[in-house]
Symmetry: C2
């Protein structure tokens, strides 16, 4: 069994110009697990409070998500985030953050998780991400890390330590500019790859994603959607599709990473269709295959016609 | 001989965060002609003043751009535009506009231009674009129209009349939202296609371009560039590559339009590398072919790996 996923499991309350959710289940590792478990078994590392719904844990377990590495702190409360999206659905304001159990989270890698080939470090404090890497006795075949501007601001030194130990970094375009100090994404990619990661994925929301490796670059579009209902977790879902496909195929070539980016984009396009993880819970393998074919139609062209 | 190009021939003065040009030759029809003449002979319709450089006209004629439809008003001055780009190179302020000869431009379609199969209406007053369509005795196989937000504000009724008579409309994302009143580009496309055009190209600058037709959609990325030196004329060059490829192949299928969009994107990626039309004057067929292969590498993935 080959994929470890690390990240938050949380409650979210979301407002968009089109609607408002109750307090619903969210968190990076939750979205990643719901998504990646379509492709491969998952070994989850996270922490929740006594208020986290038992049914959610059971639903994940039923999808071959191992929860041995998920600490349940019965007398504490689960991490809570509340935010409001702007009209463009790409930008948002945080209304409230309650760290709760996440405040002093010390991840423990269970013995049964050792020798995993793939490690997905979802967005979380870089020191926590680093702690998981250091607990692994064998270096995974591929370590993928997702992070955000917040950690560049409050924990840049820690972040740089983690960057030196990972293979693939996933950030969005404004974070790439912030981390590198370069406005051009091509220059930013070159600067960031010198910090450690040999592969860099720059997510551009509705404008798709770029994959850089050395002098190579690959671009995957986002599917043009009539409506984006809730972008929360789209980046996590993208990460889950990417690492899920890689873990399933056990192929870390650049060619296969291109396909993995398309899988991530397809999965993210489902995620935004409903609040929280709702859409991810509904979709079938046939839905996924059909959406992948939409991506083929979206970008395929016949250069022989030139 | 098959392609008529209509549009401005002008002087531009450009400021970017990285440099400043003298008063250089520009204008929609100039960029389109420099670009499309790589693929097909061009029959130009425009107007210039006595101050427009003779060498420029000769250089275009040497590329099989017929200038019979270009009025030269010896005692008047050529259209002049001056603008300053912001740091993102996607937005700009107009510093000065001198309409000059463009103010009362009445295009005349020469007899030798009749029976052209393809018509490219570059950005210009909709009434002028309409006048050209009405002068043609045979409806072209394909009419492509480029326009901008300015005409939506000052000449919407005229614009709607032209839209009812064309096949392909090219506008950018904010213009698509403005024209349709829809924020979602998928909804905007559906609304706009009801106004007349059966095909809609939505240009998103560095984020690529979308081609809509019925329920079909195709996406072409922009090439990620280390530096964008001068975006002026990128949209016109894109249009020139699109219609140039279509006119060369005489194939107006959706499949071939996809390839045409890629050709347009490739040509636009050259255009922005230097001020004005400079880069378009230098490139060879081998340069174009090499860049087209970069686009293949940029978007090609193997779905069989899923």
């Amino acid at each position: 069994m080959s994929l470890i996923v690390v990240g938050s499991m949380a409650f979210d309350a979301i407002e968009t110009p089109f609607g408002k959710s109750d307090k619903i289940v969210g968190g990076a590792a939750t979205f990643i697990a719901w998504c990646a478990s379509n492709f491969t078994p998952v070994k989850q590392i996270s922490v929740v409070g006594g208020d986290f719904p038992q049914e959610e844990l059971e639903a994940l377990a039923a999808r071959k998500v191992s929860l041995e590495g998920v600490q349940i702190k019965k007398d504490e409360k689960t991490f809570f985030w509340s935010g409001r999206y702007h009209m463009d659905m790409n930008t948002r304001d945080t209304l409230e953050t309650q760290l709760n159990v996440l405040g002093d989270f010390k991840p423990v890698v269970p013995d049964s998780y050792q020798d995993c080939e793939f490690l997905m470090l979802g967005n979380l404090a870089p020191s926590v991400q680093l702690s998981v890497i250091e607990q692994l006795k064998t270096k995974p075949k591929l370590i993928v890390l997702d992070t955000m501007n917040f950690w560049m601001e409050v924990a840049l030194d820690d972040l740089k330590k983690v960057l030196a130990k990972i293979d693939v970094l996933m950030i969005n375009d404004s974070e790439a500019r912030q981390l590198s100090g370069d406005y051009s994404l091509v220059k930013a990619a070159a600067t960031i790859m010198k910090m450690g990661p040999k592969y860099l994925v720059i997510k551009k929301g509705e404008h798709g994603a770029l994959l850089f490796h050395g002098n190579q670059v690959f671009f995957a579009p986002a599917l043009p959607l009539e409506e984006v209902f809730d972008p929360t977790g789209a980046g996590d879902t993208f990460a889950g599709g990417f690492i899920g496909h890689i873990a399933k195929t056990k192929d870390i070539s650049f060619e296969n990473m291109k396909t993995a980016i398309i899988v991530g984009s397809a999965m993210a396009s489902f995620s935004v269709e409903k609040f929280g993880t709702q859409r991810l819970r509904e979709i079938t393998r046939a839905d996924i295959d059909a959406r992948l074919q939409e991506f083929v139609a979206l970008v395929n062209f016949d250069i022989a016609l030139v």
